[in-house]
């Protein structure tokens, strides 16, 4: 199985991290702002990656990350710790990103005539990322665009899995679906990307 990424190498590290998160969550519940700083610092990149890959641009992704952590702060009191903090956070970010996209893409449900404006409003989607790299920019943009054309369910599963250290099991936990479903969604997502990126990746 050449090239297959090591997916669950550091189960022990994962467990340690989860334990640490749990401890900080307890402290945060008591209002410890440093505990929150730590949680934020350790999870913000992952949250950003999820949001970015679901939304396709950095500005919206950062907005979603901020909202997600605000939601964490508001909901921490009722967080019972039945899932890990990471799982909970990823779930929040995923929903916030999808919600964001839905609100922005709203077209009046009672659209007037058949030929009235076809494009969804996509008010924020096309903004350039703040640090647009020149080098592999074309491929990256192609990937971002292609991702947007994968159906939501499949895209979410793939985006979560593409994060470092995520296994099918963990993706299944975040989304509340079975591992088999995760697998088939990832399969479909990648097939679709393959079709869409045929010219870029050969």
């Amino acid at each position: 199985m050449d090239g297959a990424k090591e997916r669950s190498p550091d189960k022990r590290a994962g467990a340690t991290e989860a334990a640490r998160d749990a401890e900080f969550v307890e402290r945060l519940k008591k209002g410890d702002s440093r505990a929150f700083d730590d949680l934020f610092r350790r999870h913000r990149e992952a949250a950003y990656r999820i949001a970015y890959r679901l939304l396709g641009n950095a500005e919206d992704a950062l907005d979603v990350v901020q909202e997600s952590f605000i939601h964490v702060l508001r909901g921490i009191g009722s967080f019972r710790g039945q899932s890990s903090f990471k799982t909970w956070l990823y779930r929040i970010v995923t929903h916030a990103a999808l919600d964001w996209r839905r609100c922005r893409a709203v077209r009046s449900a009672a659209s007037l005539d058949a030929e009235s404006s076809p494009e969804p409003a996509a008010t924020g989607e096309r903004r350039r990322s703040p640090t647009g790299e020149a080098a592999a920019a074309d491929l990256k943009e192609a990937i971002d665009k292609a991702l947007m054309n994968v159906s939501e369910k499949n895209r979410v599963a793939l985006v979560l899995y593409a994060l470092e250290g995520m296994s099918y099991q963990e993706v299944a936990e975040v989304l509340g679906i079975s591992v088999g479903t995760v697998m088939s969604r990832i399969f479909n997502a990648r097939q679709r990307l393959r079709e869409l990126l045929a010219s870029e990746i050969g």
């Binding site: 922005r104 709203v106 077209r107 009046s108 449900a109 009672a110 659209s111 007037l112 005539d113 030929e115 009235s116 404006s117 494009e119 409003a121 996509a122 008010t123 989607e125 096309r126």
Partner: protein, 163 residues
């Protein structure tokens, strides 16, 4: 009737009463740093048979002066917006209405609203062009009407209110 059932019943009735009361009054969550804005998107046309959506009756007087005779409520949304926040609500055909509250008092809201239109620039990128921008103060609880933007057929009218 068991103790538990009685308890459930009492709780249900109490909660029902509480929710009713909340529904009738301004929600407790609202503070002076936030106001509930309602935005309507209305399609105005001239038809042989004039028709106005029953929901739009309260706005009839304003709409009637527009020169159109038929009005259809196309979208309606209500959302809490804080001072300094921008709510941009897509309307019809690439138009959008932005509402930005700047000051919220007990009975009125100072805000700026702007009509924007989404178009493609020379590079083919999608940009928002501001058509009209109006800082104003509006009494809470009443709809302000602004519109007249030409559509493929008829015109786009917006209405918004703050609470």
């Amino acid at each position: 009737m068991s103790q538990a059932t009685r308890w459930y019943l009492a709780t249900t009735v109490l909660l029902a009463g509480l929710v009713c009361w909340l529904a009738a009054n301004a929600p407790a969550a609202e503070t002076e740093s936030e106001t509930r804005i309602s935005i309507l998107a209305i399609h105005a046309t001239n038809e042989e048979k004039p028709h106005i959506d029953p929901a739009l009756k309260p706005l009839k007087d304003a709409l009637a002066r527009s020169g159109y005779n038929s009005f259809r409520l196309v979208a309606k949304e209500r959302r809490a917006v804080g001072t300094g926040d921008t709510w941009e609500r897509p309307m019809l055909e690439d138009y959008a209405l932005r509402v930005i509250p700047t000051e919220i008092a007990e009975d009125r809201v100072t805000l700026t609203y702007a009509w924007v239109h989404y178009e493609k620039d020379e590079q083919g990128r999608r940009i928002a062009r501001v058509l009209q921008q109006v800082p104003m103060t509006l009494i809470k609880g009443k709809y302000f009407v602004s519109g007249g933007w030409r559509l493929k057929k008829g015109a786009l009218v917006g209405a918004f209110a703050a609470e």
